[in-house]
């Protein structure tokens, strides 16, 4: 195998004004043999996307490729002129972006966009291009490959759109395909389908690819070689198996240990069994309410949960399952349509206006994105000082002292107090975000995806901080996440939400082994493991589950459409019962415990009989 792609001494810089430059990528060199996949892995800001884009001879606005050599086949990319680059891009080197939804033009059909590159480059006729496109749709296991091209981007799902984007990149039969975080924005259960499709098409067509990702577990499934980047420099380059099993570089070791699931000691022994927050039969949503008080778009449908004092409840579900809405209802930002929320046994008023200052103080909310959760025009001292003044009436020196104490609590130096929030790093911002909640001296903190926007290593540090704070201060958390391994490592109790209903609830031990609700099982099985070949071994239903026709009753199982083990005649007719299993967890399912312990295909059979 010859080296098909060869990069050496690549340096990308960005001028900073005063005749000075920052080096974004420094002296990067690698080679990819034909038909193999190289993964670029690193945290945000490590330069992985910059390197990937430079393979197309492109540098983002304000950056410039200052030296080095990039060879694709026999072509030196960096010496190409405008028209040479035009011939290269989209034809010989193509690109799959992270957000397919933002990369498709909503007003053109999918087929027109998928075949566009072929027609622009004059590789083939329109007819030929459409035949190729349909072949690719089939290879990427898209539904209805013959007709999906006539749809518009909003008529297909996010996972399908991502695969269509791959079809768009592959249609010119390029020599190199760049996948830039193609599954990062997807839910895990969708991600696995997309990964399977990508893997298959890469293997069948012998595609040479660069796969950019921050997720080692995903990379373990996709890549032959891994290049570990940190701050624009190569830390380690090697075969996938070697990098994962025997990482030589200390930074790689940190990365691997940060994602290795660890069970954090929650220290729940010392706490009482007294419920702090109780939610009963909660219904909430958006839009006008009808005469029964049901909102036009119900998001939460009959949710029940209890958080004991000093304990952590993990709420898990995919996007759109109502996790954030739940937090908004508890915080009082969205009034409940039905049901009640009890704080320490006392009903909590649904609207902000009805709550007392003390009720506000006891529940604090921490949002996912610290960039938008901190007012960019305020200083750190202002952000932390406000709850101190507002709830505790602190002023002057006492206030300064408490701000210092709060910063100390989240392990930030006291000097950041004078800085503006925009000047801090992502991890620091999230700590300030947390410190602001702590400044109120709360009893319950609602953490809405607090680590999702952070890099793995930084996120792990925040999780450790949460555990430590709970031990020191005895606060309870409602920890909302889409990531089951995070939830399992941090929370005492777990609630699985699907389409606004709790489908399974139990202590974290019950989430270690079956029986699970079929959705929980799908969720757990879909999380990639840091092990080569996991993707091939993952037990997935071979064919996608056909949709159930007809009008759906709100009472029916919410997971009906996607359930691989649904029982015809039962699941689509009757509301599922709430069953308490022998390990103490509660599920919403027609299946018996014995059936749920069988491998999926077998218990579908058992149910048929």
């Amino acid at each position: 195998m010859s080296e098909h792609i060869k990069v050496s001494g690549l340096k990308v810089t960005a001028p900073t004004g005063d005749n000075d430059e920052v080096t974004i990528v420094d002296d990067v060199a690698f080679a990819i043999p034909r038909g193999e996949v190289l993964a670029l892995i690193g945290e945000s800001g490590s330069g992985k996307t910059t390197i990937a884009l430079s393979l197309m001879g492109y540098a983002r606005g304000g950056c410039r490729i200052s030296s080095g050599s990039i060879r694709v086949g026999d072509t030196e990319v960096l010496s190409l002129d405008r028209s040479g680059l035009r011939d290269l891009r989209g034809r010989r080197v193509s690109y799959v972006a992270q957000s397919a939804a933002a990369s498709f033009n909503p007003s053109k059909t999918i087929m027109a966009q998928v075949t566009e590159a072929v027609l622009i480059h004059g590789v083939a006729s329109r007819k030929e291009a459409e035949i190729r496109a349909v072949e690719l749709f089939r290879a990427l296991s898209l539904p209805e490959p013959e007709s999906i091209g006539s749809r518009y981007p909003h008529q297909v799902s996010g996972g399908q759109l991502q695969r269509l984007m791959a079809a768009m990149a592959l249609i010119t039969e390029p020599e190199l395909v760049i996948f830039d975080e193609p599954t990062t924005a997807l839910d895990v259960t969708t991600q696995i389908d997309v990964l399977l499709a990508f893997k298959r098409v890469i293997r069948e067509r012998g595609i040479t690819a660069v796969y950019v990702s921050h997720d080692l577990a995903v990379v373990a499934q996709m890549a032959d070689h891994i290049l570990v980047l940190n701050q624009g420099k190569v830390r380690e380059l090697g075969k996938t198996a070697q990098v994962l099993k025997q990482p030589e570089d200390s930074y790689t070791q940190t990365l691997i240990s940060a994602i290795t699931p660890c069970r954090r000691d929650t220290g729940n022994e010392a706490t009482t069994e007294q419920p702090l927050l109780e939610i009963r039969n909660l219904v909430a949503g958006y839009g006008r309410s009808d005469k029964n008080g049901m909102p036009a778009m119900p998001i939460l449908k009959d949710v029940n949960l209890t958080i004991l004092r000093g304990r952590t409840l993990g709420v898990i579900g995919e996007s759109g399952s109502g996790k954030s809405t739940l937090a908004r209802v508890v915080a009082g930002l969205l009034p409940a349509a039905r049901g009640e929320v009890l704080l320490d046994g006392e009903p909590l008023p649904g609207t902000l206006a009805g709550r007392s200052k003390d009720q506000f103080r006891r529940i604090q909310i921490v949002f996912q994105n610290a960039d938008t959760a901190l007012n960019p025009s305020h200083s750190v001292a202002q952000v932390l000082g406000r709850p101190l003044t507002f709830y505790h009436g602190l002023k002057g020196n006492e206030r300064e002292r408490r701000i210092g104490a709060m910063l100390d609590l989240v392990k930030l130096p006291a000097t950041v107090a004078g800085r503006r929030c925009g000047e801090l790093s992502g991890g620091q911002k999230q700590r300030i975000n947390l410190a602001r909640a702590l400044a109120a001296d709360p009893e319950l903190i609602l953490c809405d995806e607090v680590t999702s926007a952070l890099d793995t290593v930084v996120g792990a540090a925040i999780l450790d901080l949460l555990v430590e704070l709970r031990r020191e201060l005895g606060v309870s958390y409602m920890f909302i996440s889409h990531d089951i391994s995070t939830v399992r490592s941090l929370c005492d109790d777990i609630l699985v939400l699907y389409a606004g209903r709790g489908v399974e609830a139990g202590s974290r031990d019950t989430f270690q082994q079956p029986p699970f609700h079929p959705y929980t099982e799908l969720l757990i099985d879909s999380v990639p493991e840091l092990e080569q070949g996991w993707l091939e071994r993952s037990r997935r239903p071979v064919a996608p589950v056909p949709l159930v026709d007809g009008v759906r009753d709100l009472e029916l199982c919410p997971f009906l459409d996607r359930c691989p083990v649904r029982i015809a005649g039962t699941c689509d007719q009757l509301a599922p019962p709430r069953v308490v299993l022998s390990d103490g967890s509660e599920i919403l399912c027609h299946h018996s415990e014995a059936e749920l312990l069988l491998p999926p295909r077998d218990y579908a059979m058992a149910a048929q009989r």
Binding site: A331, G332, L333, L352, R355, K357, F360, R361, I363, Q364, I365, F367, N369, D371, T372, A373, L374, N375, P376, S377, H378, R386, P387, F390, G422, R436, A440
Partner: protein
């Protein structure tokens, strides 16, 4: 002069013009060779000469002096009206954004109705009803530009109101006034300032056209618009008395426009985040 160096060429030209006009507004009357109403020559509509650098007007007054005095009126009234509109529009816009739907709808529809009336017609009616004075002109021009300011302020405030940091403050139990003042307002100062800058240009044009039809500044005082009107009979002779005030209006408005436009472009590239 850090600002000057970072501006583009058009912005630099704008900045120079703006500084020039500010100087004229501040020091103009002190620099004027003749008092405002003094008739200096029996010849009317004299061409440019070394005695009268911009000639004389229809009564034989020195045009340069008239412009130096007039520019002060134009700039002060225009700026005051733009600031008036900016403050009123911003305050009402934020108020609408943090208020209930009912209040927001009522206020917004009222502003829509107000902006449906052409500014000049509105000003005409108000002047006809209330008369013309400097204070009144400021108020009238200010009111006719308030709906525009309101609309921009409201849309900015509505977006900011949805931001997480405002939601956090709301969940903390903060009152509406605090949300508006501390969380929302500081984040809209910059766009509102550029908006006021542009509205100043329109205010100058509106004031000049009102004066041109005789409803603005009343004699013997004159702003740049009235100078054009009183000397309009000299147009056939190509007298500088009618051309120079018009050129002055053009230079003033173009200068401010160039500066504001390049500032806006700069703000876009400089701040990646809100």
């Amino acid at each position: 002069m850090n600002l000057f160096r970072t501006l583009r060429l058009s912005g630099s030209i704008g900045l120079i013009l703006v500084i020039f006009w500010l100087a004229v507004a501040l020091a103009g009357p002190a620099l004027a060779p003749h008092p405002l109403g003094e008739i200096v020559d029996y010849d009317v509509f004299l061409p440019m000469s070394s005695t009268y650098p911009m000639g004389t007007d229809y009564l034989g007054r020195d045009v340069l002096s008239r412009i130096l005095y007039g520019a002060r009126f134009t700039i002060t009234i225009g700026a005051a009206a733009a600031i008036f509109a900016g403050i009123l529009g911003t305050a009402l816009g934020i108020f609408a954004a943090v208020s209930s739907r009912m209040v927001d709808e009522t206020l917004s529809r009222f502003m829509d109705a107000l902006s449906a009336i052409p500014g000049k017609i509105l000003a005409l009616v108000m002047i006809a009803a209330l008369g013309s004075s400097v204070a009144l002109l400021i108020m009238i021009i200010g009111v006719s530009y308030t709906p525009g300011c309101y609309r921009i302020a409201r849309s900015l405030a509505v977006n900011l109101n949805q931001m997480d940091f405002v939601q956090v403050a709301r969940a903390r139990g903060e009152g509406r006034f605090y949300l508006a003042r501390v969380e929302i307002f500081p984040n809209m100062i910059h766009p509102m300032l550029t908006d006021v800058g542009l509205r100043f240009v329109w205010a100058v044009l509106l004031l000049s056209s009102l004066s041109f039809i005789g409803l603005g500044m009343q004699p013997p005082d004159a702003d740049l618009g009235s100078l054009v009107r009183e000397n309009i009979s000299g147009l056939a002779e190509g007298a500088p008395a009618v051309l120079m005030p018009a050129v002055a209006i053009a230079l003033l408005t173009i200068g401010v426009n160039l500066l504001i436009d390049s500032l806006r472009g700069q703000a876009k590239t400089a701040t990646g985040e809100v």
